[in-house]
């Protein structure tokens, strides 16, 4: 039978606020264990949560980036269960009154056509502590690190609009780009600041019925989400074809074996309104203030890049996919540097060096100003491309200006024909064979002679001038 998958994603994202959600402890889970704790996030008797305004703003910005409607009246609920990673026996989350509803983002389906994926809701919840099990040694022990306890998360619940792995991976990429744009989160699956759970069911193609779903967890990269969905769809199809039925349960992705395995069911306690955090009433003024802080988003920006800078659609989408990158690009492309040069140098020269030096585009020592100065010299023939690449490498090692490096190392391009005259004469007199070859109709000999000329100039000659001078001499 021909099946179609129905997939909804639940994505947890750790917000990058300065403090935790309900106390003033720093939101730095990676610090020395249990350093960032207080009576509130350890939930000592008598402690009362104080909901952070900064967390609300970051969460609301993220929800707006996903085209959601912020709700006027939202509140926290207690999700009750017992586990040592949860210091008070319940997690503060939003169930009855989530922060935002009815959003969407647009992706390209596997045939490149635009498709909207609906977002049912975005709600806030606190993260739990980290457990470390030391099983070596005589007495195995379990340790709890509360640095992560109470750090802010948002959970983004999609509508079941996704049909295959491609769409799921596209959805995650677009969603990640949108949320990074508003600066609310880093969204790294590898580092655990973005966690994706997939609800998957299948049905005969053409049916509009929702069948029993299976939840799949533990995918720690976008690639794994795609692989797990593909695997799970074929697993469910095999089961149905074998006449079995699908039961509601949770499975874990095993990245070593590339399969999903059933997980033991866990106790789900009640979810009740929390009386200690007052309901959040969102005013019109507050919301318009948050809205005014939304930056130009990727889709609008890429359209503008096409119009304003003449980039192709693919280039524009790439340049606007990350806010830092797009801002870097715009800071380089200007009067003295054509957008195309800026684009090409960022993509082909700067990016590989950033990887080598482990720097990010927003923090690199090669500021947009320094790169722009360098590329301006390239475009005004002060130096050639080869020299420009060398100067770029040196920019990572020195805090000199590109101009100073050009002077210090003598990278300045020789564009003076008088200076090159003697050099050209020398090359021609050293290579009579090549001249004969050229005159016999071998075009390659010209290239050889230019190469010799460039080498004799130690790479500093203006290649175009060199070519012109040699060609002229040969035709004399």
């Amino acid at each position: 039978m021909d099946y179609e998958a129905v997939i909804g994603l639940e994505i947890h994202i750790q917000l990058n606020s300065d403090t935790k959600m309900f106390c003033n402890c720093p939101n730095r889970p990676g610090d020395e264990p249990n350093k960032n704790t207080c009576p509130v996030c350890l939930w000592f008797p008598g402690a009362i949560p104080q909901f952070s305004g900064e967390v609300l703003e970051k969460a609301a910005l993220a929800a707006l980036a996903l085209n959601c409607e912020i709700q006027d009246h939202t509140a926290f609920d207690q999700k009750v269960y017992y586990y040592p990673d949860l210091p008070k026996g319940y997690q503060l989350s939003q169930f009855h009154k989530p922060l935002a509803k009815n959003g969407w983002i647009e992706i390209n389906d596997d045939e490149g056509r635009p498709k909207r994926i609906g977002i049912r809701q975005v709600h806030m919840e606190e993260d739990v502590a980290r457990l470390v099990h030391e099983t070596e040694g005589k007495t195995p022990i379990s340790l709890v690190d509360f640095n992560r306890a109470g750090t802010p998360l948002i959970e983004i619940v999609s509508e079941p609009d996704i049909r295959n792995s491609h769409e799921a991976m596209e959805y995650i990429k677009v969603l990640r780009s949108q949320i990074r744009y508003v600066g609310s989160a880093e969204c790294s699956m590898e580092q655990g600041t973005m966690r994706v759970d997939a609800n998957i069911s299948i049905r005969p193609r053409g049916s509009d019925h929702f069948n029993t779903k299976v939840e799949v967890k533990n995918m720690n990269s976008i690639h794994n989400v795609g692989a797990a969905i593909t695997y799970e769809i074929s697993r469910q199809a095999e089961r149905l074809n074998a006449g079995e039925s699908i039961v509601l349960h949770t499975r874990l992705w095993d990245p070593d074996r590339n399969v999903t395995v059933a997980m033991r069911g866990k106790f789900e306690g009640p979810c009740v309104p929390d009386p200690s955090v007052p309901p959040i009433i969102v005013s019109h003024e507050w919301l318009s203030d948050i809205r005014s802080r939304l930056p130009e988003m990727p889709s609008g920006k890429s359209e503008r890049f096409i119009r304003q800078y003449g980039l192709t659609r693919d280039e524009a989408v790439l340049m606007s996919s990350e806010r830092d990158l797009s801002e870097y690009f715009e800071a380089v492309a200007g009067d003295a540097v054509t957008p195309r040069t800026a684009y090409q140098w960022i993509m082909t020269q700067l990016n590989p060096l950033l990887k080598d030096y482990r720097q990010t585009i927003s923090e690199t020592v090669v500021t947009p100003k320094r790169l722009a100065s360098l590329l301006a010299m390239l475009e005004s023939d002060v130096l050639n491309a080869k020299s420009a690449r060398e100067v770029l490498s040196k920019l990572f090692e020195s805090d000199q200006t590109p101009e100073a490096i050009v002077e210090q190392y003598g990278f300045r391009q020789v564009s003076d024909s008088d200076e090159l005259e003697g050099l050209v004469e020398q090359v021609l007199s050293d290579n009579p064979q090549a001249i004969d070859d050229f005159k016999a109709g071998n075009e390659k000999a010209l290239g050889f002679l230019i190469g010799q000329g460039m080498r004799a100039s130690q790479g500093k000659a203006n290649p175009k001038l060199m070519k012109d001078m040699i060609t002229r001499k040969l035709q004399e």
Partner: protein, 485 residues
């Protein structure tokens, strides 16, 4: 005259005029504690060393002119407010050895005001009870009759004030836990508006109902205590940033031309006739003081106990989920795995009444019952609140009984939780509505047990509440007896 028998305002005058010292007051209080504590058992933990250090500091501050209204005054703390460095048990085995690393906001305020802490008072376990009989640390006896209960849950604070084992005290009131023991022990006890006093550091029972308030020997002291503890606290986001007036300014104002409502639903069958008589006499006093008495209706009153016993246990069941033996408090050593450790720690760590309420609460919240219990109770709670809003359109204050009976015998209701729950029938609705209420002594039964009368006002009208309480106290001229222990 023993210093321990005096009020805050009397002692303050003496301290200011150099007639006595905080050390002398503290000595007097500890002498009294030594004499009666074996019989009454008001305290779980005595902090004598701390008290004398504070007293000496207070005397130095008074001498250098840095004293305030509470400087050098011994104030007992219900063992439900966290005290940095002093164990805070909440009357429970599960917190027997819990020493908080921080002060609750009220405790911090008292420390800054220069108060002296003689100790932490006994209470029903996790404030669940009306008799102080569910404490893991033993019962407290009523100073007026040692065979009777002192009320609860703040029974230790009430008895400590009544027996002069402190000058004033702090309690907490979730369904009557200040006003009911105050009435049964013949002292003044007030539950402020929800949000008036910071709950930060108050070990939560039912977070939407709990409120900290004072016990004192008279209404003036109550106002002085309120001045010290009221106010917004950023650490408790349910506390309200409303202006706090000087409450002592209301004491002498009188209630001429006030209208005082008598809720007809509160005069039900089953009220002890002596209590009824005392409250009716109090109504007469209020009228004599110049107020007009009218009958009002609080039509949903009959549901208040039912609503309370859904909402309070529901909130308690999640508030008490943190006592799991993992981070602090009692942990059973016998569990072989995590689930057993949880179960055995909680089974051994909590008493029967606490377990009963956790079960009621868990049941009310469980899926399938949530709508029928918790949600319905929340809806009725809104109606109860509206009853009061309507009532306060007709009157300035409400007068009512505090308890249906005077103090009952020790053990009398322990096997009948329903009878125990009905002790709070007149006090619960005030918590559900969030309004302030005060219990003021209004006489004695023939056998010499104290009786209290309750006044209620609208949200954040503690000033008016103290105004009518003080006017009543002044006009009633209730004989000031002392319990003979």
């Amino acid at each position: 005259m023993e210093l321990s028998t005096l009020t805050i305002h009397e002692l303050q005058r003496m301290l200011r005029e150099g007639e006595t010292t905080s050390v002398a007051i503290t000595e007097s209080v500890f002498k009294r504690i030594e004499a009666v504590e074996d019989k009454v058992h008001s305290y779980i933990t005595l902090t004598e060393d701390l008290a004398f250090q504070q007293a000496e500091q207070a005397d130095r501050n008074m001498q250098s002119g840095r004293g305030g209204p509470l400087t050098g005054i011994p104030i007992a703390l219900k063992d439900i407010v966290c005290t940095e460095g002093t164990r805070t048990t909440c009357g429970s085995h599960i917190l027997e050895n819990f020493i908080p690393p921080y002060d609750s906001t009220v405790v911090r305020k008292f420390r800054e005001a220069g108060a002296v802490f003689p100790g932490k008072t006994n209470m029903d376990e996790f404030a669940m009870g009306s008799s102080t009989e569910t404490s893991y640390f033993g019962i407290t006896r009523n100073p007026w009759d040692l065979s009777k209960i002192p009320g609860g849950s703040s029974g230790g604070s009430a008895s400590a004030v009544a027996a002069d084992e402190c000058i004033a005290a702090i309690g907490s009131d979730t369904g009557g836990s200040i006003r009911q023991p105050a009435a049964l022990c013949g002292v003044v006890g007030m539950k402020p508006t929800y949000g008036r006093v910071s709950r930060y550091g108050l070990i939560a029972f039912a977070s939407s109902l709990d409120q900290i308030g004072p016990f004192s020997k008279d209404v003036e002291d109550c106002a002085i205590m309120m001045n010290a503890i009221a106010g917004y606290d950023p650490k408790d986001s349910t506390s309200v940033p409303a202006e706090v007036p000087d409450y002592t300014r209301f004491l002498s104002k009188g209630i001429e031309d006030w209208t005082v409502g008598v809720p007809k639903e509160y005069f039900i069958e089953g009220i002890d006739p002596e209590v009824l008589d005392a409250v009716k006499r109090a109504m007469q006093v209020v009228e004599d003081a110049g107020a007009k008495i009218i009958e009002i209706s609080l039509p949903h009153s009959e549901y208040c106990v039912a609503v309370y016993y859904v909402i309070a246990p529901s909130e308690a069941s999640s508030n008490l989920a943190r006592y799991d033996g993992v981070r602090y408090g009692f942990r059973s050593r016998e569990g072989r795995d995590l689930m057993e450790m949880y179960k055995m720690s909680r089974s051994a760590g909590f008493g029967d009444e606490v377990k009963r309420r956790i079960m009621i609460g868990t049941h009310s919240l469980s899926s399938g019952y949530y709508d029928a219990y918790y949600k319905k109770a929340s809806q009725v709670r809104a109606l109860l609140r509206r009853d009061f809003d309507e009532a306060f359109r007709q009157c300035d204050a409400i007068i009512a009984p505090v308890t249906p009976t005077p103090a009952f015998g020790i053990g009398e209701k322990m096997d009948d939780p329903l009878q125990m729950y009905l002790c709070d029938i007149f006090t619960i609705s005030c918590n559900l509505a969030g309004i302030p209420g005060i219990s003021v002594p209004c006489g004695y039964t023939k056998s010499g047990l104290p009786v209290g009368v309750q006044f209620l006002t609208g949200h954040f009208e503690e000033g008016k509440l103290l105004q009518i309480a003080a006017a009543y106290e002044r006009h009633a001229e209730i004989e000031r007896r002392r319990p003979e222990i």
